[in-house]
Amino acid sequence: MRAAVVVFPGTNCEHDVVHALRSLGADADLVWHRDTSLDGADGVVLPGGFAHGDYLRTGAIARFSPVMSPVREFAEAGKPVVGICNGFQILCEAGLLPGGLVANRDLRFICRMVSVRVESNTSVLTKAAEPGRVLHLPLNSYEGNYTAAPDVRDGLAGHVQLRYCGPTGEVAPAWNPNGSLDGIAAVSNPAGNVAGLMPHPERAVDDLLGSSDGIVLLESFIASMIPARV
């Protein structure tokens, strides 16, 4: 099983994602945004960074890259697609996930560990995680504030995968780092095969760096890539 890790101009977490996936036993290759095929990959990751500088709107220009056509087909075929941070923003812009991400409430970039609670395990990102479990993950974004139009909000029920919370799992405004709607840190599409999250699981696969709680999320994704189990 092999993941395609897509690189746009301005992407910067691609090597970290490849390193993390490989350290968990999966195969992963970089795919340039001008490529028109995913070369038989079993899963797709859109990693973090600043595709096209985040100019205009985060993710706005990236969604027109040639590689997004096969990514869309791949997603529509029900195969696993995960967007991390900037990748999440691109998936929203591309309409593969509901809602969008705007500037953080305090208009400051946030780089620090946050706690998130697993809300659901209905997605390729969370299927191996137990609902209610609290994960400590690095958050690293300026536009991490999830928002959705009122008509979209109702449709989110059941598809929120992670929410910001306190160290023991309590969800409350005080624990919301960036103003996200209902503390949402990750959502999926209704089918669960496309998911996006703001925190960086690939930065949390080694206790030496402070946390290994990202492993359960990446392992969910890796498990989703095994065709028999889809």
């Binding site: 309409g95 705007v102 409430r105 305090d106 208009l107 139009a149």
Partner: protein, 82 residues
């Protein structure tokens, strides 16, 4: 031709820049300000002399790229039709 596009966030969606500017203006004593909405203004210099065609094309640019239809509305203004 110079065409300006104003892109505003849809009402009901969170607008942290607007909220922050509003708070800052209040702190400076501008109590008459009741709300602030933060958006973008993009000026396009277009080669061509038919304003209708240009506006139609700019509308398409907005729908495809410049604005995000699930979050933003836009207005097109012809600033200089020559």
């Amino acid at each position: 031709m110079r065409i300006r596009v104003e892109i505003d966030r849809r009402p009901g969606l969170s607008d942290p820049q607007g909220t922050t500017v509003h708070r800052a203006l209040r702190n400076l004593g501008y109590d008459e300000v009741e709300a602030v909405h933060f958006g973008k203004s993009i000026v396009l210099e277009i080669d061509g002399d038919d304003a209708d065609t240009a506006v139609a094309r700019v509308r398409e640019m907005c729908e495809r790229l410049l604005a995000n239809p699930v979050m933003e509305d836009f207005i097109i203004l012809v600033e200089d039709g020559s």
